[in-house]
Every structure is written in structure tokens, then in C-alpha cells.
Symmetry: C2
């Protein structure tokens, strides 16, 4: 009975199977057809007996293949990110990779720290869910010639595979729904646009759509996520400015929708009756909040899965031109946009 902590090595197995390391290595690497039946049987027994597992570290060192994939997630707390993560995880499992999850907590220096970290662990590829990420970190990424896929948003001036939502279509769908429901003034709410293409595209599509409906008032505001005063003020003013009209809010992401709902509560406004509300990103509690909140659901799991597939494709040497995969959103209608 081997009770010492020392992990069995390939040599131990070789000895136990009464053969050389090479054969063990072959056995481990799918070249079993090269081995005689008896040898293979011996090897199998030895491995089982010693409870042997090859060291990924030694392997990685030797072949440069670590089977590790780095994930940079801006905010693990965000349900959007969790959906993505979940899809990536599943895909990793299927493809034989292991994700190294890094939560940057929306902080730039964490981001830099983690980029170094991922490099030092020699990840074979990176998936970046850039929600909230800023320029500096992204620039840093460009330098490493590592297979990389962006999720949700692009990096300005940097060609790279992207997996994201069809923002134009989604925002148009959402806006048109509000129009159909008879809202006369609509406020588009987003976190500060910055250089985030996702936010820009959504707002642009919102505005473009409403130019086709000249009777309808289109406004937009940029609000920081965690400043409730600013948000309260924006909403209150919008509400009083258009007294007597049917008004609606269009929130550009799920985290923001939560804040908006809280703000409406504070202001004593009810979505559905006093004001319309539609938010990007599905929320598990959307149906439970008052009369329900209409959402535009992103297929996050699929997007995560697709992103990982794409990095793996790159890792395996696919050198096609940059690929942009775009998924469709789905409108889930609830009470907050009822007539």
C-alpha cells in the first residue's frame, strides 16, 4: 500500500509494468495500437495500481501544450458573465481544456496583473469578456500573439475574433416593441458609452429606429452604475419633463436594469403603469418584479460556448481572417411594457 504523499511518476509506472517510460508515454498519448496486448495490459494494471495521473506540468513544459485557457471576466457577479462562463466551461470540458478564471472586478490593474499571470501559466488562448474593461489592459493584450477571442465587445483598432450580440437588430427590436406599445417618449439608459462599441451600437440603433417615428421623443442618458443620485435625478427629470405622456425606459444591460428598477422604487414609480421599462439581458427574477420586466435576452451560454470553440480553432492553427460571430437577441415580453 502506497501511502506516502509522493505522486507516482511515469518511471514508477514503467518499473511496475516492467518496461520503459517510452511505452507508458505511448500508452498515454493514444498510440496504443503500437503496443502489444500483453504490454498494454501490464501498463493498464500498473497505472490503476499506482493511481497514476500524468503531470500536466511536465507535459506542458515539454510540449508547450498546457491545455489551459485563460478567461478574463470583468465581473463574476454579473449574471451575464455567469452565463458566458457556464458556456465556456462546458465547451472546455468537451475539448479537453481547463479554464483559468480571472475576475478583474472591473479594475484595470487587476486586469494587467492577470494578463501577466496568464502568460506565466502559458495559457494557450484567452477569452476576454470585456464588460467594463478599459483601454490599457486591452492594448496590453494586443501585444501577446496569443489566440484570443473577445466576448461582447471589441477592442478599438484591434482586429480580433469576436463573439457578441447583434446589437443593431436587438436594439431595433426593443425600440420597435416600445413604439408598438404606444410609448410616446423613450429614454435610452446606458453606462457611459466611452469607446465601448456595444453601448454605442445599441444607442445608435435606438436613435436610428426612432427617426422612422418622428412623433416619438427619443432621449438618452449615460449613468454610472453605482451612483444612485445621478440615476434618480435622470429618471425624475425625464418623468416630469414629459408629464401626461406615455413614457418608457430602455436599459442597455442587466446590471443597469437592476439599478433602474431600484431607482423607480425609490421614486415611487411603478413600471408597467407609471412608466414602461425594457432591459437588455434576461434576469431570472424579471417575472417576479412587480408586473414583470420585459427583457431582451442574450443567448449567453451559446455565446460562451461559441467563443471557446473559436479560440480552440485558432489554437489548432486555423489562420482564417478575423471572424465576427453575432447572435440574435430574443424579446421576452412582460408586464412592464404593457399598454
Amino acid at each position: 500500500m502506497k501511502s506516502k504523499a509522493a505522486r507516482a511518476t511515469i518511471s514508477d509506472v514503467a518499473k511496475a509494468a516492467n518496461t520503459g517510460k517510452t511505452s507508458i508515454s505511448r500508452y498515454l498519448n493514444g498510440e496504443q495500437h503500437l503496443l502489444s496486448d500483453s504490454l498494454r495490459a501490464r501498463i493498464e494494471r500498473a497505472i490503476a495500481e499506482l493511481n497514476y495521473r500524468p503531470s500536466q506540468f511536465a507535459r506542458g513544459l515539454k510540449r508547450g501544450r498546457t491545455r489551459l485557457i485563460g478567461l478574463i471576466i470583468a465581473d463574476i457577479t454579473n449574471p451575464y458573465s455567469v452565463g458566458i462562463l457556464s458556456g465556456i466551461e462546458a465547451a472546455c470540458r468537451e475539448k479537453g481544456f481547463t479554464p483559468l478564471v480571472c475576475n478583474t472586478n472591473n479594475e484595470v490593474d487587476q486586469e494587467l496583473h492577470y494578463l501577466d499571470l496568464l502568460r506565466s501559466y502559458q495559457v494557450e488562448g484567452i477569452v476576454v469578456n470585456a464588460v467594463g474593461m478599459r483601454e490599457e489592459g486591452l492594448n496590453r493584450l494586443q501585444q501577446s500573439a496569443l489566440p484570443m477571442v473577445l466576448i461582447d465587445r471589441k477592442i478599438p483598432d484591434f482586429d480580433c475574433d469576436v463573439v457578441g450580440l447583434d446589437n443593431i437588430q436587438a436594439a431595433a427590436t426593443a425600440t420597435e416593441h416600445l413604439v408598438e406599445q404606444g410609448f410616446e417618449a423613450i429614454l435610452f439608459l446606458s453606462e457611459p458609452l466611452g469607446t465601448v462599441n456595444t453601448r454605442q451600437e445599441r444607442r445608435q440603433a435606438f436613435q436610428d429606429t426612432l427617426t422612422r417615428y418622428p412623433g416619438i421623443i427619443a432621449e438618452s442618458a449615460e449613468v454610472p452604475l453605482y451612483d444612485s443620485d445621478i440615476l434618480d435625478t435622470a429618471l425624475r427629470q425625464f418623468h416630469t419633463r414629459h408629464r401626461g405622456m406615455r413614457k418608457a425606459l430602455l436599459s442597455a444591460n442587466g446590471a443597469l436594469t437592476l439599478q433602474v428598477a431600484r431607482s423607480l422604487r425609490r421614486l415611487g414609480l411603478n413600471w408597467g403603469s407609471d412608466i414602461g421599462l425594457l432591459g437588455f439581458d434576461e434576469l431570472e427574477w424579471a417575472e417576479l418584479a412587480g408586473v414583470g420586466i420585459t427583457t431582451l435576452k442574450q443567448p449567453t451560454w451559446q455565446m460562451g460556448y461559441a467563443a471557446l470553440e473559436q479560440v480552440v480553432r485558432r489554437i489548432e492553427g486555423h489562420a482564417d481572417s478575423v471572424r465576427e460571430q453575432v447572435f440574435s437577441g430574443e424579446l421576452i415580453i412582460r408586464g412592464s411594457t404593457a399598454r
Copy 2:
């Protein structure tokens, strides 16, 4: 401008700094005081120029210290887990470890799969939110005398550090709150108890507490998380069985609370007015759901942090007897338990 993919190695740096590898290694490992100023300066320059980062793989191979910690999370989708993860992450960052996150999706074989995986990456310790670790997994774990800390629940017949909630106190607090609010019949809802000590303890404490209030009806039910029929039936029957009484539900975890709220919606019952509702685990949307849902909040972040601290302590050789760390819950009162 070095644009080739080849990462710089310690030898490259040595060459560039016109010295030997040893000095570089010393520089990297905090033995800088052993180096002359000029040499140190040369090394610094070389490292910066080559953008060199030591390979954790080579290091791990050599020293057996991978600085990797495995996390086994039962369900990454659960906000509880996310809170834990977040605390672990922060602690890892502080202590210089990197988490390898594995989501078992509540499946026992995933758990086994990941245990092997973590072993092959030679993690130095693991933190486990166990799903159903039995015999097989246990044996493997015990053999590999790997530092390990459990979160939330224990594993039957397995001595191991644990970090969890003070279930007795928490359940008592919750139950007493319901009593104080004048509820006359209370239904304790939990996923099937199985061998999960957490669930058992909560229910036990619920029952024990109510024996002190003989006038109050105590019932309990075990419902699978994703079978809405069973849940609907349980709730409907409980409701009709005690017509005319003030009734309340006590849900044993956050994921379940969500299902309960949905079920109440389907049944047309309003929490707060038709029936009381109190759930373990804080929910970000708790205040937005109708009149609000009273919750018993667990300090998840702190629990994750503490768990990681404990593994690290073990990794560093602390051989104290098994340690059980227990955190207090906090009751957050909202409309669902109002008089």
C-alpha cells in the same frame, strides 16, 4: 522589436544580462540582496527588454509548488456560489495563488472528473462545495493527502476543515422572526435532505424552535428544485389545509426561494398579504419582488475568503486538528413577513 512568438526564457535573460541563469533565478526569488547593484540593474533591464515572465510550469515542475488551488463549485449559476467564488478569488490574489475553477453542475461524475483534473495539474490544495462526494471521490482524496477545505456542507464520515453557516442559529432566528410576526402555521421547504448536513440542520433547528411554541403548526416538505408541479402541489395543499390561519413559508436556500416565488405567482398567492415568505440566502432582487422578500443573508464573500485562508494555512504546514469555522447569518426584513 521582438515580435516572434517565442517566449523569452531564463537563459535568454541571462545572456542579455551577460550573466548566468542562477543570478536571474535569484533575482526572481527575492534574493536580490545577494546581487551587486550593477548586476541587478542589468538583470532588470534585460527582463524589461525581453518582456520576460518566468514559466510557472517549469517552476512547478522543479519545486513542486504550483501555486494553484482547485475550486470545486456545485453550481456556478447559484448566487451563493458566486459570492463564495468572489471571496476565494480575492484571497487567492492576496496570497499569491491562482484558482482553477471547476463547475460540477451538481453532477457527481463531473466531480470525479474534476478531482482527477485538479490532481493532474498538481494543485496545492482544494476548496470544495461538494455535491455528492461519496466513496470513490473520498478514497481518492484521502490518498492524495491534499489540503482541502469544505464549504457549506460536510461530507459524511470525512474529517476535514469546514467553513459554513451557523445553521442552528440562523434557522432559529428565521423561525422566531416568523413567530413574532404572528404566523400560525409554517412550512419549511427544502431540497431533498439526503445526507446534506446543512439541510438537515436547518430543518432540525426549525422544528426544535417551534417545539417551544406549541400553538404553532410546523410542517416541512422536501421538493426537488426543478419540478414545479410538486412544488405547486405542496404549496397549494399547505395553503388550503390551513384556511383562515396566518401562514408562512421558510425556504432553505436562495435557488429554492426563486422557485417558491414563481410557484406562488402561478397559484395567484401574494407573499406579504396572502402568505408569509422568508428565504435563506440574500437575493439582489429581494426588494423588488412584490412587497419585498425577507431573507437570511449569508456572508458568502467572507466565507469564501476564510476558506481559502484555511487551505493556505494547511498548505503552509499547519497540522492542527480539524477546524470548523462557522459564520452568522443576518436577517434582512422586508415586506413578505410583515404583519
